[in-house]
């Protein structure tokens, strides 16, 4: 029988280390101890069974109890006062609030998980409110808007999006296009302005973005100054707005012309000219840059 050299406790036969301080048992060479009967019939499983702990369980049960009580109270009071037919919205609202709280306490407390669940619940809630008169109209625009919001504010933070950012950007763009097409379908019952206006404008945006991305990534030195990024963004923004004016006038008047965006176009051309000159001529760039940073 071995003793732990650090704690001084006696260890049961066959022990490999002291359970208190993890000091390994050092037996004289050639000596082996027979293994004693283990403390319990089986070894510890690799992990526990898990479950909801007492406090969390208590909070969830409390929410359910309050939900049942408030549902009964609201329904009975509305029914007895003769407004039973209008009780759907308050009852549905209480149910959704309870569900939202229960899920907030029972699922993994991460931003992406919680925000995703709450987005789905709010979307369902809006559909439910809209469907209370057995017709669905405004929720077809409002609920998918949450989906688009999710694409921009939650999806980029998911592990999958972080691993493949280009694919994630594509999904965000497709989602936005789909949402715009849906608005057009819901309001105009066909793709009236989506094809002649939205698609060409988005096309312009993509072309401009692609050109600048190509230009900046193919530069000799890979460093892109922040000023260049800001100026390029201005050019992309002004160019896209100009294209919107151009295609919108074509859709509304039947004539493709610039009505109010001439100033934006000329500004973007000046900025573009400046960008090209500073990148082509080192002398021009130095003229506009602090000398201290080039020693």
């Amino acid at each position: 029988m071995a003793y732990c050299i650090r704690c001084g406790v006696k260890l049961e036969e066959g022990s490999k280390a002291c359970p208190l301080c993890k000091t390994p048992v050092q037996l004289p060479p050639g000596m082996e101890e027979s293994k004693q009967q283990p403390l319990f019939a089986q070894n510890l499983p690799s992990r526990g069974l898990g479950g909801v702990n007492k406090t969390r369980k208590g909070i969830i049960e409390l929410i359910i109890s309050l939900f049942v009580i408030s549902e009964l109270t609201v329904f009975l009071s509305m029914w007895l006062s003769g407004n039973g037919s209008q009780s759907f919205i308050p009852l549905f609202s209480i149910a959704m609030a309870a569900l939202s709280l229960i899920l907030a306490f029972s699922v993994k407390p991460t931003y992406t998980m919680q925000a995703s669940i709450q987005c789905v619940l709010v979307a369902v809630y809006l559909f439910g409110l809209d469907a209370s008169d057995f017709r669905i109209f405004w929720s077809l625009i409002a609920s998918p808007a949450l989906g688009v919001g999710w694409l921009y504010f939650v999806y980029p933070f998911t592990r999958r999006a972080m691993q493949k950012p280009k694919k994630a950007a594509g999904i965000c763009l497709l989602g936005s296009l789909g949402y715009l097409a849906l608005i057009n379908l819901v309001v105009g019952h066909s793709l009236t302005w989506f094809v002649p206006v939205t698609l060409p404008v988005v096309g312009t945006l993509l072309i401009l973005l692609g050109l600048f991305a190509l230009w900046f990534t193919k530069r000799k030195n890979k460093r892109v100054p922040l000023a260049d990024v800001v100026l390029a963004t201005l050019v992309v923004l002004f160019g896209t707005i100009t294209s919107l004016d151009f295609f919108l006038s074509g859709y509304q008047l039947g004539v493709y012309t610039l009505r109010w965006s001439t100033g934006l176009l000329s500004t973007s051309l000046v900025v573009l000219l400046f960008l090209v000159s500073v990148s082509v001529s080192r002398r021009v760039r130095r003229f506009f840059t602090s000398h201290n940073r080039h020693n």
Binding site: K16, Q42, G51, K54
Partner: protein, 435 residues
């Protein structure tokens, strides 16, 4: 005019005893509310014989043949007609057990090669009650296995009819509404421990020669239980010193010591009849030497066992149950509130639990047959290490049950103190380091 509320008990409804009321609603992961008592024999345990013995136990103690149900106002017990099951032993004791998988019974009989164990949900009985069931089970097992015919000293008599007292709730008899309620105490220090936790119960079992520990305790004028409580407090004080460097910020360190009230009040009930002595030190006042702690523990234990104080505690507990607001609130509302308030009213007040079942008295026929006795208690989320003590023959077994995966600092300080005090400590564990 005074209105009296008539108690109405429907058929098949057995009310939980006062102390058991808190256990069903608070049962959850990290709060199993279970404990285990076990005896290791020299013989190989046979399942068929054990089943036969269990049948006898339930025939004698029909009040244990119950299942738990949730009523509208309270949880309650009702007679269980299903067949009791015998399970092979698993990898750790005092975990949560599913009543459904156990045919609704609140206790579980387990066996391994040489061991007969009884795992019990606290709503049925306390440690002493469970030990009485286990003794009867072993007695009947030995009878059927032709090992020996005997009766444990002070145990249940199989041939005698169960007395009414065995399934009475003494708390209700001892309740006196004219007594003042017991005061609530402040929050105690809680050690979080380092590293991860999970709901597997990790055990470190320390076997100590009774003679040696008795000598050390006697030299200080205290009992063995008080010596172990003092060691526990001393270890916790050392840990608190490391965690909280500023003396005045140190919270009191207290231990909850369950007291068997059967001897104090002379009841022979098989239900819960335990109250907790809360003993401790105030490290904010300064560092306590072991001798000072031992003195404090000795005095506080004597005060805690005072009949009048115990009656006042009973007044508080039963009074709470009888408050109309609690009594007539539906279970649906009471359950979550019990879950949320149980820490505030219980675990918050102490830094650890030390449950001592005392010396197991064996009949002469069994002295050479018993290899080991054990007692395990499920730990909690607030107090992540629980300590239990049981004595048999010339050995005392101290079991540390813990949810902490790697942190064994408390156990180390406890055991090394005893080693330094000249006591031989032999360890065994179900932790991975050892096997």
């Amino acid at each position: 005019m005074k209105i009296r509320v008539q108690n109405y008990t429907p058929e098949g409804f057995i009310a939980l005893d006062n102390s058991a009321l808190i256990y069903p609603p608070t049962e959850a992961v990290y709060n199993a509310n279970t404990f285990r008592v076990s005896l290791d024999l020299c013989y190989t345990i046979k399942q068929e014989i054990l089943e036969q013995a269990l049948h006898d136990v339930l025939e004698r103690c029909s009040y244990a043949k119950v299942s738990l149900h949730a009523g509208f106002f309270w949880y309650y017990l009702s007679p269980n007609t299903k067949q009791p099951l015998v399970h092979p032993e698993g990898s750790y004791p005092s975990g949560r057990f599913s009543f459904k998988e156990n045919n609704g019974y609140l206790f579980k009989v387990l066996y391994s090669e040489h061991r007969i164990a009884l795992e019990c949900f606290h709503a049925l009985t306390d440690g002493s009650g469970a030990m009485a069931y286990l003794k009867l089970l072993v007695e009947r097992y030995c009878h059927y296995a032709d090992i020996a015919d005997f009766q444990f000293p002070g145990g249940l008599n199989y041939k005698a009819r169960p007395s009414i007292q065995e399934f009475s709730d003494p708390f209700q008899h001892l309740y006196d509404k004219n007594l003042p309620s017991y005061p609530k105490i402040s929050k105690a220090y809680h050690r979080k421990g380092t590293g991860s936790i999970d709901d597997r119960v990790k055990v470190i079992s320390a076997s100590i020669p009774t003679k040696q520990i008795k000598e050390r305790a006697k030299a200080r004028g205290i009992t063995i239980g008080e010596y172990l409580s003092s060691t526990y407090l001393y270890a916790l004080q050392q840990l608190q010193q490391q965690e909280v460097p500023l003396q005045k910020q140190r919270k009191p360190i207290r231990l909850s010591v369950p007291m068997n009230l059967r001897k104090i009040f002379g009841y022979e009930t098989m239900r819960n009849f335990t109250l907790f002595a809360v003993i401790g030190i105030e490290p904010a006042l300064g560092y306590y030497t072991f001798e000072e702690i031992a003195k404090e523990v000795h005095l506080q234990m004597a005060v805690s066992q005072d009949r009048k104080r115990l009656l006042s505690q009973i007044r508080r507990n039963v009074g709470g149950e009888r408050t109309p607001l609690i009594r007539f609130a539906p279970n649906m509302l009471k359950n979550p509130l019990f879950k949320l308030l149980s820490d505030y009213l219980g675990d918050d007040q102490y830094s650890g639990v030390i449950s001592n079942l005392g010396q197991l008295e064996l009949p002469p026929a069994l002295e050479g047959t018993i290899r080991r006795a054990d007692f395990h208690l499920s730990p909690g989320l607030l107090n992540r290490v629980a300590l239990t003590v049981i004595g048999y023959l010339d050995t005392i077994v101290v079991n540390f049950t813990s949810f902490l995966n790697t942190d064994t600092e408390l156990e180390r300080l406890f055991c090394t103190f005893m080693v330094e005090d000249g006591i031989e400590v032999t360890l065994s564990t179900n932790r991975e380091t050892d096997r």
